[in-house]
Symmetry: C2
Subunit: 156 residues, 2 copies
DNA sequence: GTAAATTATTTCAAGCTTGAAGTTTCATAA
DNA sequence: TTATGAAACTTCAAGCTTGAAATAATTTAC
């Protein structure tokens, strides 16, 4: 047990606050479960998975800064994760002729094959973890989440 | 711009997958914004805020393990955050007579005062960031999030 | 009563994450 | 040109996070 019965907060704005708390708890629990399974079954991590998922959609590769923007994490962060993926042979950096500051980052053949397997498992896990949500309900929830996205997106 | 036009994925389960992606992006963007503001305006962090928020509701304090369960983070994690809060004088550990393994963790007077101020700002930030959601819509979304919680909650 | 199992917590190494500072390369313009 | 500034990355220190191992105290089973 934890922390006794809470007095339900009330007042203006409390419903938004409650929504935020739920949203956060939902994504944290699901993330924790995914992280655990990725570790157990594929000996990898969520950040590595995220990077590979981003790259998988774009065979020609992405710039580090695009990767960072897309994943909503800092530049330095991506550097470290990509370093590790490179050392595992799943990702490659390719210097570009045009601009020597940048490098195209892409999945290797091996990385691409590995990701396809993990992604299939990942999708079925999501199906399982969100099993209580009908496909129809999922679409409506997605729509509602979209509808208030503009309020903070592209802020930082 | 990033990563060209994506082919919209389709097939069984794709709507749940898309919902998960939206959920994750929503909570990550909001989290990033909150973290930034907590740092800028109060020189603190989200994990510290979370711990203080949990303790604020329970004047008599919580056990480390309850804190960890409540916040959905590991035991060792809480130890570090509480250590830092203690060294800042915002939180205190109290040994218990009954069970010498455990200690009650609670906000100090100073911690409680500090938190009240931060929490007020936090709530207004949420109101602002979720401004596009009407209170009514917030209640409905919260309900939908509740409805599929049971599927994974209490798993790990 | 005492050995064994359980529970509460801390410690630790490895990895993730950020924001700031530093490096290299490119673009602009006097 | 060549300085000046901007852009793409990397490096770094500090903090967050996890899972596993270690410690200490309590409970259970015999």
């Amino acid at each position: 047990m934890v922390a006794g019965p809470l007095p339900a907060p009330s007042g203006p704005g409390k419903d938004r606050l409650r929504l935020w708390v739920r949203l956060l708890r939902a994504s944290r629990s699901i993330e924790a479960e995914l992280r655990e399974r990725l570790r157990q079954e594929f000996n990898t991590t969520l950040p590595r998975f995220d990077v590979m998922a981003a790259l998988y959609r774009v065979p020609e590769g992405m710039l580090m800064s695009d990767l960072s923007r897309f994943l909503l994490v800092s530049n330095g962060n991506v550097t470290g994760i990509v370093d590790r993926l490179v050392s595992e042979g799943l990702v490659a950096r390719a210097r570009r002729n045009g601009d020597r500051r940048t490098s195209m980052v892409r999945l290797t053949e091996e990385g691409s094959k590995a990701f396809a397997v993990i992604a299939a498992a990942h999708e079925s896990w999501i199906g399982e973890l969100l099993g209580n949500v009908s496909e129809d309900e999922a679409r409506r929830l997605t729509g509602m989440l979209n509808s208030f996205r503009s309020n903070w997106e592209g802020r930082e």
